[in-house]
């Protein structure tokens, strides 16, 4: 029933778009979001990027977006709709849009497509991503310093490489400080359900975790941390207002500069499918001001951030896989391909990866 509903919503949203798509000469840039732009998380940040494009390029562009598009076959329709309505460049912002976008890109060779966090490209489909794992390494170090129990609770959505990579990087960071650090992992199988995220946070705190990390989109888990007078990390946007005493920092995304450069390239006619992976040094991954922690922890976090910005990769050997088999030799750095397809845990993660 919910599926049907979302399908209906997508179609109605798309139809209402059609009415406003008449302006000529302007380049039309379009976005597809998996969540509502009011989630104050992942989709919200992408939409902020869209607004920056509007601001920077003014009346040379016209933008449109579809929100709440469910991942999977429904997304086909959303992309096709936008392409038919004259969008010249379309950004799909969620991993699950990958196959639908590949399919629709084939059908509309003149439209430029961009897909976030995926790994498939074609003549008119480029990919872009942010190295969130860089920030997660810093979170891991802070968690290990700040946790009294030595146990973090980690709320995750779906077992895709992006998320697995984040867990691994977090654990590597934590274990660089405290080799015995543990993380309890709970999969909520949803990107966005504040209630579920709050429940998961409560369950994790009840089981002895005293710091919460999330790879889901709402502020609910941090609010629970605030209520329990414990700590946690925000996600996607700065959530300090929701948890003034609980948020240590927040792993935020800044898509604006990238979007502006791509839409500009489309305007200039220089657009080519790209494969970029932006990190802390590009300003695409940012850590919100460090709060609620002693100065030495803050200094350590800043130093690590700087080290990563300087080109150091958290996935630098020696690193063993979960079962103890060696993965990276001393000094060896993981290549991007392996990271983007990551489907195994590193040593020390106390969870069985859902397949």
């Amino acid at each position: 029933m919910k599926k049907l509903l979302i399908a209906l919503m997508t179609t109605t949203a798309a139809m209402s778009l059609a009415a406003t798509a008449e302006a000529a000469d302007k380049l039309k840039a379009c976005w597809v979001y998996t969540g509502p732009i009011g989630d104050f998380g992942y989709s919200y940040q992408h939409d902020q990027g869209r607004l920056e494009v509007e601001k920077a390029l003014g009346d040379k562009v016209e933008t449109a977006y579809l929100e709440n598009v469910s991942e999977g076959p429904d997304a086909d329709r959303a992309f096709e709709r936008l392409a038919r309505e004259g969008c010249k460049i379309i950004f799909g912002t969620s991993f699950g849009f990958m196959d639908p976008e590949v399919k629709v890109a084939k059908k509309f060779p003149k439209v430029m497509f961009e897909h976030a966090t995926g790994y498939k490209t074609s003549d008119n489909l480029g990919i872009y991503n942010a190295r969130f794992y860089e920030g997660r390494y810093v979170l891991g170090q802070i968690a290990a310093k700040e946790s009294k129990a030595g146990v973090a609770g980690y709320i995750v959505s779906f077992p895709i490489p992006e998320v697995v990579m984040g867990i691994n990087s977090f654990m590597l960071g934590a274990q660089s400080i405290n080799p015995n650090f543990k993380a309890k992992i709970v999969w909520v199988n949803s990107w966005f359900d504040p209630g579920k995220e709050a429940d998961a946070a409560k369950a994790l705190f009840d089981q002895g975790a005293d710091i919460i990390v999330q790879h889901t989109d709402s502020t609910a888990a941090l609010q629970v941390a605030e209520e329990r007078k414990l700590h946690g990390f925000g996600q996607s946007s700065d959530m300090i207002k929701f948890a003034p005493n609980a948020q240590l920092t927040s792993l935020t995304d800044e898509w604006g500069p990238y979007y502006i450069s791509r839409v500009q390239a489309a305007l200039d006619g220089t657009w080519k499918p790209d494969n970029v992976w932006l990190g802390i040094k590009d300003g695409a991954v940012k850590l919100a001001p460090y709060t609620n922690m002693p100065d030495d922890v803050k200094a350590m976090a800043e130093a690590t951030e700087k080290k990563i910005a300087g080109g150091w990769n958290p996935f630098t050997g020696p690193i063993a896989k979960q079962d103890g088999t060696p993965w990276l030799k001393d000094g060896e750095v993981a290549d991007d391909g392996t990271l983007l397809g990551m489907n195994f845990y590193v040593k020390g993660v106390d969870d069985k990866l859902p397949q």
């Binding site: 509502p36 077992p159 709970v186 609010q223």
Partner: protein, 306 residues
Amino acid sequence: MDITVNILLTIATAATPLLIAAIGELVVERSGVLNLGVEGMMIMGAVGGFGATYLTGSPWIGLLAAIAMGAMFSLLFAVMTLSLATNQVATGLSLTLLGLGLSGMMGTSFVGQPGERLPNLDIPGLTEIPVVGRLLFGQDPIFYISIALTAAVMWFLFKTRTGLTLRSIGDSHTSAHALGIKVIRYRYLAVIFGGACAGLAGGHLSLVYTPQWVENMSAGRGWIALALVVFASWRPWRVLAGAYIFGAVWIGQLHAQAFGIPVPSQFLSSLPYLATVVVLVLISRNKRLTMMNTPASLGQPFVPDR
């Protein structure tokens, strides 16, 4: 011991919105009207509750606003289906779509604003009693409302003459009409009651469960409430059982995961749905009794001949 209490409290919080919305819908369906707009009314209640709290600073006013918002929104459904005799399924679905969209629009300026939580009950001397104190005397006000509401609806439907009349309308609106009962008036009141309940459930989401406003924050809970009513075969106490089974299995599976039980998390996540359906099917095995409980004219539009 503390962890058990915490788990029980978490279960109650998860079950309360489902219970309230489902109890409201149960009354609506008992009167023979099928309102699929629960999700929409719920989310309207959530945005209304949050908005009023944000503007006035008082979550109590927010609570009332949530109820009023749900009731007002259901009135739209009532006018369409009862006075204009439109198709109930289609109207209910569009009510949900409208609610999701409208609430998002109304809530634009509330996004990213922290909310005010409705305070928990705190009775000096009683709330501090170990174990039972927090369970019985330390929960949020809406929890108590939900339990009282269930009892009141049970009493109303099965112990009062008005309740009997309402059920008879649900079973055969033509007969009821022939007896001189004001079918449409009863149904109006039932639908508005259902809307108020859904609004209150939404208020629970934005004032207690997760004190914030984000679009789509009901995340399908209205649909679960609708399903609960059917699986509970329109019996209030079974709705209560269903909501709590759902909540318990949901929270249980989170704890199982955090504990590190090696069962695929996808399976664990689907467990609440499975378990609730299985249990409710088991307790309503008696076909004849289920038939008896099903409102016979559910979903049929009623146009009085004169």
